[in-house]
């Protein structure tokens, strides 16, 4: 064990110093940053595309059918052209325009559904944990029952009964199936926090119930809420895409799921029109990896024991 007082830092030591800095500021988590970057990229495609690309190409028949992306040839021997850089679908719609409109739509459904679901979850979770008694029993039992019902089953019935739905309507329907796990999570946290010293201190200070719930407890739950939010965004998107691929989503608004539905319906797999179903699938993959990374990153932020120094 030699002393290293006056020696310049070696590379390993510099790396160690960088790790320690990262340990100090948990939000500089590489997973969190990469995940956020992936999601922001998808939103950026949506925003930039609206400014730079002609969105009228999204209508049926506005372009030649089944053109491949630039640099590829389709089965008819047509080469890709720069007017439709990532090809066109079987209905003569430009794939790039479809994605510029469709990708943010898919993300929007997920975010809105989970925002509504989380709000319900926070409200019910706090009520159950804090008030206890019969209210707790009712909320807990209904959340448990709802968890056992497969959401797709109910949603398929709903959607086919409603016919065409808007994106918002679909988000609200999905929200009805993502509030259970935040409710249970928050209830458990509130139950353990209710016994803590600072909540007793606040009671001694004559604090009202709403003050204790929202000013004393809620701030300490923020990391959990974030994590739970991201998880339910993932669930919501999976549910939404599932419905769309079954052809049950919005009929007139392009989404990634609907594009995949149409590709399958038109036999894109047999005709080797890989760009038609492949590009939306790839984007969905990127979206899920982004959400997963954010979730892992948030886990490390809220649970310091998962953070490693070495």
């Amino acid at each position: 064990m030699t002393s290293q007082d006056n020696m310049p830092m070696t590379r390993a030591e510099k790396r160690q110093a960088r790790r320690i800095r990262r340990f100090d500021n948990p939000w500089l988590n590489p997973k969190l940053i990469w995940g956020a970057a992936l999601l922001l990229a998808i939103i950026a495609i949506g925003l930039m595309g609206r400014l730079l690309w002609n969105l009228d190409l999204v209508f049926t028949g506005s372009t030649p059918l089944k053109l491949p992306p630039v640099g590829f040839e389709n089965l008819r021997g047509q080469a890709g052209q720069w007017a439709n850089p990532i090809g066109t679908d079987g209905g003569g719609r430009d794939m790039l325009a479809l994605i510029i409109i469709g990708a943010p739509n898919t993300l929007f459904v997920g975010l809105l559904a989970s925002l509504i679901g989380m709000s319900i979850g926070i409200f019910l979770g706090f009520s159950a944990g804090f008030l206890g008694g019969r209210i707790d029993d009712t909320i807990r039992v209904s959340a448990d029952v709802m968890i056992t019902i497969p959401p797709l089953l109910i949603l398929v019935v709903f959607q086919s009964a409603f016919g065409d739905v808007t994106l918002t309507m679909m988000a609200i329907l999905i929200a009805g199936f993502v509030w259970q796990s935040p409710t249970r999570l928050i209830r458990a946290q509130v139950l353990s926090m209710k016994q803590s010293g600072y909540v007793q201190m606040a009671q001694l200070s004559g604090a009202s119930t709403s003050h204790i719930m929202f000013r004393e407890m809620l701030p300490n739950l923020i990391p959990y809420l974030f994590g739970s939010f991201i998880a339910s965004v993932t669930t919501s998107i999976v549910t939404a895409v599932g419905l769309e691929v079954l052809g049950l989503g919005p009929q007139r608004i392009p989404t990634l799921g609907r594009t995949i539905y149409e590709a399958i319906n038109a036999g894109a797999l047999i005709q080797n029109l890989w760009w038609w179903w492949g590009i939306p699938t790839l984007l969905l993959g990127v979206m899920f990896i982004g959400l997963l990374l954010i979730n892992l990153g948030l886990d490390e932020v809220s649970n310091p024991r998962l953070r490693k120094l070495s």
Partner: protein, 581 residues
Amino acid sequence: MLDDVTPDKPVLTLRDVSIEFPTPKGIVQAVKNLSLDIHKGRRVGFIGESGSGKTTTALAVMQMLAEPGRVSGGTIDLGGTDILSLSEEAMRRTRLGRVAYIPQGAMNSLNPVMRVEPQMWDAIIAHEGAVGRDALKQRSDIALESVGLPQHTSQLYPHELSGGMKQRVCIAIGIILNPELIIADEPTSALDVVTQRQVIQTLKDIQTRIGSGLMMIGHDMGLMAQTVDELAVLKNGELVEHGTVQQILEAPKHPYTKDLISSVPLVGGDSFLNPERNADAPKRISSEPLLRFENVRKDYGAVAALQSLSFTLHGDTPQIISIVGQSGSGKSTMGSIMLGFNPPSKGRVLYEGQNIQTMNAAQSLEFRKNVQAVFQDPYACFNPFYRVDHALKFPFKQFGLAKSEAHSQQAMQEACVAVGLDPDLVLSRYPHQLSGGQRQRLIVARALMLSPKLLIADEPVSMVDASLRASILSNIYDLKDKHGISILYITHDLATAYHVSDFVMVLFKGNVVEAGPPKEVIGAPQHPYTRLLIDSIPWPDLKRSWGDGRADWDPAKQEVAALNAKTEYRGDVPGFDLSKA
């Protein structure tokens, strides 16, 4: 008599050991150049406040330092083996085989889903490979017997054992392979005094029998005096004094050691308080007594936590009423009933004539303003999300005491100064940046700011470092002395109750067994249970070996006697009436 033991080769030799923790704000030296020998059969105590490096040193001997800590210099030699050069596998064999570690919280150290017996077998199998079932059974039975546990314990799950029994199971696992060195890290800090005495005696017996060295970590000078042969005093990672217990107790050289010794309050010893004058109680409008218990009883299922109890606290002269007892005696239940957190099963609690369970919102706010509390755990009392001034400012505003922002700021600063804190240093910090002692003082400052009529202090110093206890207690005492606040002091520590209180109630299994002025009750106890408690106090005095030093000390017998004895009433104080059952 201990000095004439001719020491052979030491079991453990620490030479210039330094331990450091790299952190974002630079390297923290947890232990600096520590050198020490532990000889065969000797008991060495490591004493110091939290953060002084005593546990860190012990963990380094086990090679179990938490990341990113590392031994940065020096050597650790265990009976001829250089610990620091051992491979991970060799170290694994050394742990428990040659060094055993008895942890602080035995309740968390046993596997809750395994019976006691297989957990002991695991230890043997991990070191000796396959051993026959009969041999295993025989060895675990011997180990359990040697710590004084009945044989059927081996078939029980940890939750079926009491805290003291769990700690003994941990000791039994620790000695099952006859280690050369036993490290006991505050083995009794979670236990009450009676159990503490039993467990320490078990530990001493068994250590003498297998002849290993013992490294005992703690912060209680009294317990150390009763347990070890040699003492090492640590402060900020440095060994400031080392010698036999006798040398250190009789002629401490380092000022910190002197502080540690003098901070232990003694029954009958000099008071650490200076009662100059008695402030008058705050003027009360109501003619009703401040607090009245009417046949209050609390049951948890079939267990009676508190038997029917009636008393009246008039509150016209400020007083400190102490409630002492072991864990499970119902004293904390009584505190939470008084605060209205826990409704009584029978009877009523009246605050100025109002039942606290049926108050309306305005009355409830008035009650909260006038009945405040200091809790046991200063670490949990602050919301980690806010700066600490939130805990002081919020109630001040809530009770309508604040005239303006500047006024509440000024009140906070004055309260901080009154409890000996620098307001500029502490008020704008986050809770985790303050020590336990500072936090507990802030809670006392909070009580002072609100100037309630009654303060319920539930074990206010049991989680604070020993050297700070006396000063925090005198802060609390000042609340009565200078500010006229009546205090209910709930504690298991008879020595402090002796000094601070005007009236003492001893609680045993929910019953008051002895009550009266402290000089009578604690100074000359008459009830068997009170005597049991006082005998269990570890004195920082070698001549006074655990009470009066009777060898036939049998707590079980005394508890039986206590159950049959009737309550002793040792006198009254004006302003507090305990109804005699």
